[in-house]
Point group: C2
Chain length 373, copies 2
Amino acid sequence: MTSTRPRSEPIVGRAPVDLEDSPLERENLRRRVSEALDRFLYRQDGRLASVAPEVGVLVGALRDLLCGGKRLRPAFGYWAWRGAGMPDDDRMVTAAAALELFQASAIIHDDVMDRSDTRRGLPAVHRRFGELHRAAGWRSDGEAFGTGAAILVGDLCLGWSDEMFFGSGLAADRLARARTVFDQMRTELMGGQYLDLLEQALGGGSVARSRRVIQYKSARYSVLRPLQLGVALAGAGRRLREAYDAYGLALGEAFQLRDDVLGVFGDPAETGKPAGDDLREGKRTVLVALATQRGTPVQAGVVDRLLGDPALDLAGVELLREVLVDTGALAEVERMIAAGTEQALAALDTVEVAAPAGGVLRELAAAATARRF
Amino acid sequence: MTSTRPRSEPIVGRAPVDLEDSPLERENLRRRVSEALDRFLYRQDGRLASVAPEVGVLVGALRDLLCGGKRLRPAFGYWAWRGAGMPDDDRMVTAAAALELFQASAIIHDDVMDRSDTRRGLPAVHRRFGELHRAAGWRSDGEAFGTGAAILVGDLCLGWSDEMFFGSGLAADRLARARTVFDQMRTELMGGQYLDLLEQALGGGSVARSRRVIQYKSARYSVLRPLQLGVALAGAGRRLREAYDAYGLALGEAFQLRDDVLGVFGDPAETGKPAGDDLREGKRTVLVALATQRGTPVQAGVVDRLLGDPALDLAGVELLREVLVDTGALAEVERMIAAGTEQALAALDTVEVAAPAGGVLRELAAAATARRF
């Protein structure tokens, strides 16, 4: 949002896709979200320094992680608000930015649980602190130190997401409307994470079970809940809420399916993780469930033998990829992504979304499923 | 609080220590806090069941842990409110009960970080889930499963503490006054936990450094911050706030010093942990720092050799205890506890605390430092 833009956008009926304008809008929001996070972390830095100067390192690790974020969740929250006809508002940008902290908490703890080495092209937070321990030549177990520090950074982010959202300065009645959504978002994410742990422990399940994990572990807090937060803050009516819900549910799943495809077939430069990392970690995705369901006994055997092998080399990665392609699993997931994206866009067509939000939300649907950020 | 008690207590000047009444008051509050937690968890159980029935096990583990709590933090919060002349109020009991969830989050994650086996006489949450994994014969690493599940239960508690406090139904202006304290409490606890990790990694520090860890890792969130929450919700004046602060700072440290003494010399039936467990974990307490500082080279050598040895047997525990006694460290810590408790009580004498809260707060000071619950 530039300073020359009027702070209130009129509702102009069915929103046109404004392809000229919305990339700039998206970029501006990204910048403002980053600035809001910077300001917030600066204040927390001071608070932690009042405990002890040594503690500042917790904020440093977080700042680096946050730099790599795509600001997708804040975008859904902010544009849902704008789509309800609300004016641009720095307080709304701050509330939306809190979703980056929430996500940071989820991925920091997830990386501890999955023992992932890399995130967004950098060492995972627990690895960073393990390395700090090693480099300093401290006593006792460096891995335990790294795990402990990462649990704490994740805890900080979880608390801070709440502090930033409810301390955004938006009116108390608006925030009160958003509280139920916020609370549900937190609880269902932890439930989804536990389901994911369980699926790994059970060693693979059906397509339906994998889709359930996707919903609760990622889809809902990535798209649906941010939209619902924006619209609850705005106080929009039932029709817009229902359209956003339909858009959010369909797009959230398509977004996570795309993420799963990229986790196996994506360019490491784009995913920020080494090639085949999801296969090494044994992630029980819809892609894998489809391959197991559709594969011959030989193909299913390859999945069973190689998936989750921490020492999986590139030849093994290639073999697994081949199975995912040959069984038709990849093609089926691509069909699901396309159908979900279509469904999301169609839902937007059923209501009036204030400009420029309608165009931006359409563009976000394409961006989230194509992963061209 | 019985139903025949008037809902509003008059301010009666300098509060007498009502030894007949306050044990009953304390017991009643404990019961009401437990009931509030039960109701809250019942609702969350339903929310998690909407994710998947398998997820309910997260609430079960938490319920067992919460059963063993002493409700000390809710007591400080609630009686601070009552001491400011506020009437008994179920909503305040609910807000205070949220502090049990906050503490549960802290200890569940702390046990993961310290790899503790036992808490409140039961297996630590991560051990419970490790055992669930083993008993079910699931795939992959049971310890990693236990750690992951415990991280998630701790995350749930952290979010729920906020949800329960701010969803207590107290008026929005009261809650808004308490927000800063709540936010500080969370952030400084994580800072304190990190300092503790750091002290273990550095292998022991000065008495001053150990006292700093105590303050931020335990003392403040156990006594000072609950009192400040109660008084902020009540909207009390500066004089009462200052008296509570002085009481809370002094008592919080004395309480944690008592906890450290019990961790080494306490009866396992009382501490809920095996004898000498804190020594095996290598906890860098003020007790240990004093012994190292005052001991002969031989005594310091014993500490250096045995402290933190996971295989430490009872003979080793006895030898370390002997050093803590012979160096005068134990006697010095007992002096610090007595002085802190005195200071806390003296602070209460400087202001008018509404009955029966004045008496209860005095009794809580004795109970928290003697650990006779």
